[in-house]
Structures are given as C-alpha cells and as structure tokens.
Symmetry: C2
Subunit: 416 residues, 2 copies
C-alpha cells in the first residue's frame, strides 16, 4: 500500500505551498498555513489582512475585543470586591490567554492535570495551582519534577495517605512542595470532608517535612450553572459555609490560609461574601458560551450578560438543497454534543444541532433571518467552551474580522 | 512571567528523562515516553513487558486479539455475501489500523474530510474514497492536489454546480478526478435526491472533461443504530431501494456503477441484499462500543455480539472516600458525553458517568462486584468510538495485557 516516491513528492509539494505567501485568486488558508504566516509575520499578521472568512473550516475563532472586555470586567469586579482571580486554564489550554490573564491582574493560573501544568510552564507560565490531586507514584514524580523547576507550583491533596506520598516524593526530589487541602463542598466528587477531617489533614500537611501548607480549595461546580442570580447566590454561600468554617479553624490553629480558592464564572460576583475567600477559579468568563448565557445574571434574569460571547466556530454550508434546512461541516467532532446546542451568531429563527459526528444541521423557522447557500460561512457561539477548545490545535485571534494572531492550544488533549 | 533559564532546564531534564529507559522502582510511562520506546524498540516493544497497568491515564487502549477477530469476522462475512468492505477511517483516524484493514481484504478506505485523507496518504494509505463533498475553492484545490499524487483518490459530489467546479479544478491541476455521486437515502443531510436528479448529475459527471464517473454513494446513517435485526433490515432495505433503482438506471444508461457504497457496522450483513451494492463503509466494527452493543444482532436480540469490544479507556481512581461512589480521572475530555455511558469492563453492578469535563464518576449498586481504592486502574468500554478516538494522540495496542505497539492517531483533530 505504501507509495514512498509519491508520498515524498506530495509532502514536498504541500510543504512548499505552505511556506510561500501566494495571494492566489482563490483565497483560503489552512491551519498549518496560518500558523506559518503567524510565525513569519508576528505582530504584523493583521497587516496581511486575512479575513476570518478566508479561514478553512471548521475553525475556532476568538474575538479580541470581546475577550479583552471580559478580562476587564473580571478585573474591575475583583478590585471592587477585594479578592483575586486565578483563572482556570482547563477552559482555554492556551498560554497566550493565560499570559493575558496574568498581565491584566490575575493572581495565578489554575490547571486540572499535571500535563496541562507542564504545557503551560513550557510556554513560560509559572504561577500555577493544580486543583486535582496527583495520586499515582508516576504523576507525583512528574509533579515534583515540575515543582523543582517551577517554585510557584502549588498542588492539591485530599487524603492523609496522599499527603505522606507527596512529602516523601518531595524529599526525594529535594524540594519542599507547596500544597493546598482540597475540601469537598458536598458534591462528594473530590476533596475531603470539611471540619475536623480537613483540619486534621491541614495539620498533617503543615507537619510533614516535604510539604508547605498554603491553604485550601473548595470548588463548588454544582452551583456554577444554577439559574437565577439569587438562587445561585443562596446555594453557593450555603455550600461554602463549612469550608469557610474550616478556614476559620485553621486560622485559629495558626495554619496558613493564604489561599482559599474556589468558585467560577457563575459565582465570581458572589464568592467574596464567603469569609476568608481569596480568589475565584473562573474559566468560562473569557469566552462565555451558550450554557452560561442561559443562567441569568444579577441585572437580567433571562440572560447572563456580564461577559460577551468571544468564542465561535466558523463553519461552511455543505448542502442546501432540501427545504427548511442546511448541512454544515461542523458536527460533534467540531462542536461536541453539549446542550444547549451552539447558537448561530447574529441570526434569528434558526436552530443548530451537532449530534452527527461530522455534520452540523441548521433548521429554519418561519421567522428565519436568512437562508444559506452551499459554500456560505457562518459563526456559532459555542455550547460549552472547555471541551470544544480541547478539540482544536489552534485558535484564531480576530479583531474587526481580521486575524491578528494564531494562538497555539498547547495543552489541547492534555488529559493526563 | 517567562523564566527562560528554568524553562530550558526543565525541558532538557524532561527530554533526557524520556529518552532513557530506566526501570525505576516506580513504574509508569507517559504517552511521550511510550512513543519514544516504541520508536526505539519497533516490533520488539512487547519484549520490554510494559503492562497496560503501567500506562499513565487516561489512556486509549486497543486489544489486538479482539481487533483481529473483528477484522476476520468482517472479511468472512464479506466473502460469504459477495461484496467488499471499505472501512471508514473517521472511526479510527489511524494509519496502522487502515493498513491492517487493507491487508485483511478491504477494498479501500473511506475518509470524511480532505485533511483526514491527507493524513492517511502521508502515512502510505492510498486507496481513499472521500465520502463528503468539497465545496469551497480552497478545499477543492487541496483535493485536486492530493489527487495529483494519489491516483486512487475518489471524491463525492452532490450538485451540478459542484461537479462543474471539480471539473474545472481538475483541469487546472492537470488531472482527471475520480468522482462518485452522493445520493440521499432520505435523511436530507447530504446527497442529491435519487432517481432523475441523481441520474442527471451522474450523466453530467460522465460528460465533464475533468471528471471520471465511478458510481454512487448512499450512506444511510439513520438505519445503523435501529434496535433489532429485523427492524434494521427492513428500514435499510427500504431506504436504499431508491438508490438501487438509480444505480439500475445508470447501468441502463451505460454509466459506471463500479462503486455503489454505503451502509455501516449496523447493516454490514444486510447491505448485500440491495441490488448493485458493492461495498460497506463499516467503521465501528473494529472497536465496537456501548452504542452498538445495545442494538441487538441476528443471533441475539439483546446484545450485538458480532464484534468484540476492543477499545477501552484506562482510567485511575482519584477519590474513594465517599460511600457508594468513586471519582476517576476520565471525564468528558477523555470519554465524551455520548450515551449510553461508558461501561466498566469486566465488572458488574456499577455505573460510570463522564458528564464532568475532568472527572468520571462510578456509582456502586448493591450487587457491585467490587469497590475501588485511590490509585486503582480500571478499563472502560467506550460509549461511541469515533469522537472518543478524536480526543487522543495515540492508542496503545495491547495483547494479553502487554503493550505491543503505540499507534499514532495521525488524523486526530483533522476535521477540516
């Protein structure tokens, strides 16, 4: 089956095509071509005038005006409320965005996996808090290796046995590892029970020779998407009360509570009301998505308008020959199957589904603002940003419809 | 934020660690390490005796005995029924598996996207049939570039305008491009209406100077997961009847019907009953998954036993301190959120959900065959193989629990 000669020629020809800027009559640029242009042009990329509509699809696009507005809103709110933001990189997996978050005032960056931490550190992001415990000897060894080169790396633990394993590994690696105790808000997913168990674990961490206690985590994922601001506020304050009490007992015991981190995009303007709370692990606010748009905000019970939808999927219509519908090239592999489905940006009276792996489906209502022809491109507001980003190798940073940068999603697929 | 010195040292140390085989007391191998071992060891990898349980998690694992059995079952059935298989690479995105399929008798390989075709051709797979139409000038140009180096590349079309665009592009590229007409089985997703419209398009393709007509496609995705063999058989034969009639009219008009391709894993032992049908575009049969297990087979109305579950996700328990449940490291980013949920392999009385992006959740019933401790590893039979594979860069090919090869998922993320 192998055709070595043809294959080599094919690769050479394709490579040559990608390396040379040819403003051909047929516009259209692949991801590899755009990355090559970006590497050559740097900040001058926007002067090349590549329109978002010239990108090959499906493509992941981030609007820089919306992104910057979201960063500014977060920082303004944090300053007003006297806490910090420690954005979660599991949302964007992108060093360029983490850097922007730190530059606009975030106190650090959270990561979910040690491989994610490694990818960010390799790209110069060093104030890292890993919110998941490392439990296997292999992952603990990796975490300590990272800690050796990245003194600002903090990791979580939620059992005494794990804390002892971490301490031993830290000593073996010749470091003192910074640790926070992960406290369960009641979802019983990760974390230790607040109160006496959490306090005892904090005391153990404080005593162990290889560890340095830095405080606690309490991430209440179950409260982030509660619909209605008042209901969301009531639930999250209630569920964080036990962690706040634990934090208070740690203070009285002379233990470090320098970090009391939790919350997210749904509770970013609520969490400062929890006593002792220091920073919110916001993720989705940079991009927003259809899931968060529907939860309602403090000012609008219907739509959560605090942040602007910044992340879209560019897709192309493949088939338009059947009444009332059109088929696109962005299905589950480009959009996920999260609900609510993606939203066609800027249009009315049409629904989008991505239940098929390869194809998206548009259905028009009677009030559809337009219909599409084969080859037309449209943008979708993503359903749930985190798993969507994890499908792409790069995102296009766009301002006013012109590509300003190509951002590598360096931690894409880093689930280990 | 950048720490160039630390960063360089970190990378060097990490790189050195990956390149040297150190049978440390703490076993455990990352994906990068396993790829490096495989590149060094080649076919001798299995002699190193790396157990599947030593792999870092989440990891995608394919059992070679089950995979080979599935390939053999398919080939045996094809030979008995007098048609061919043209397996769809959108399922596995893996050149090593495509090669195995061709070596065991498949007549060619299907792809869904031109970028997928490119990835496979770069790895030596050349008998490629692209089942989706290329509609943008950019993608058409890429397809013709591929056709130039890969004479066995066949592509689909479903409108007269697109056929003319393909012909013009083929002439510009100096090739005659092989084309099949995509016929709609009634789902109105892609394809042209069978009968007169499809016949007219086939005649146009046959006339256009840049194209060579090779036949038709009719993929009836909606019939693949119909529960119950008889119901599935009745539906797919009914929905392919119009395409079969079109094929018959093409024969009478002297047009090529060398290819009449369609069907899938759910109908692989039914499609030969459609007159003129030449080959099934089976995908999932190589791996099987929870979705297909539930549709029932000709011999067993409850479970589809024709093929063996070969694809699993290896995951590690992170938290086991709450009654009746455990939390793992394989959530939606490792398993997708397709239903039915993944199945814990070899166990009874427990359910697995991956609704959370980062974490999987096990719930034990009263009849649970066991419970797990922190650090335990378990295997999950995947929910829906295609989008799961698309999350991973590599899969581990395992026989008897020992890793025999590390297979690159070269077309992972190739959705363009």
């Amino acid at each position: 089956m192998t055709m070595p000669l043809s294959r080599r020629h094919f690769l050479q020809a394709a490579g040559a095509g990608a390396a040379v800027w040819v403003p051909a009559p047929v516009k259209g640029y692949s991801g590899a071509e755009m990355s090559a242009f970006a590497a050559q042009a740097g900040p001058a990329l926007s002067s090349l005038g590549v329109s978002v509509r010239d990108l090959d699809t499906p493509a992941l696009v981030v609007d820089l005006d919306a992104l910057d507005a979201n960063l500014a809103t977060m920082q303004r709110t944090m300053e007003r409320n006297g806490i910090g933001s420690r954005p979660h990189a599991k949302t964007h997996k992108c060093p360029a965005i983490a850097r922007r978050q730190l530059e606009t005032g975030s106190v650090g960056i959270c990561v979910a996996k040690v491989s994610e931490a490694e990818a960010l550190f390799e790209h110069g992001i060093d104030r890292l808090l890993m919110t998941t415990s490392n439990v296997t000897p292999f992952k603990i060894r990796r975490a300590m290796h990272l800690r050796k080169w990245c003194p600002a790396f903090v990791q979580a633990t939620d059992t005494a046995a794990n804390a002892r394993d971490l301490s031993e590994a830290a000593e073996a690696a010749g470091v003192v590892a910074d640790v926070v105790v992960d406290v369960d808000p009641g979802g019983h997913r990760t974390g230790i029970t607040p109160g006496e168990p959490a306090l005892a674990l904090a005391q153990l961490v404080d005593r162990l020779p290889g560890l340095r206690l830095r405080g606690i985590l309490c991430y209440d994922g179950g409260s982030q998407h509660v619909t209605g601001f008042e209901a969301r506020q009531a639930q999250t304050l209630d569920r964080l009360a036990a962690a706040a009490d634990t934090c208070e007992r740690m203070v009285r015991s002379g233990l470090s509570t320098e970090i009391f981190s939790g919350g997210g995009t749904g509770t970013y303007n609520i969490d400062h009301q929890t006593p002792g709370f220091t920073d919110v692990q916001v993720g989705s606010y940079v991009f927003m998505d259809a899931q968060y748009l529907g939860i309602g905000g403090a000012d609008d019970p219907e739509v959560y308008r605090d942040f602007q939808p910044a992340l879209t999927i560019l897709t192309t219509v493949l088939n338009a020959q059947y009444e009332g519908r059109a088929t696109t090239d962005a299905g589950a592999k480009a959009c996920t199957i999260n609900r609510p489905w993606s939203i066609v940006k800027g249009e009315q009276g049409m629904s989008y589904t991505s239940g098929s792996d390869e194809f998206g489906s548009i259905r028009y209502g009677d009030d559809a603002s337009r219909t599409y022809a084969v080859g037309d491109k449209l943008e979708l507001i993503v359903s749930h940003c985190d798993p969507v980003v994890n499908l792409y190798d790069r995102m296009y940073a766009v301002r006013g419809g012109i590509v300003e940068a190509v951002w590598e999603i360096a931690a894409r697929g880093r689930s280990t």
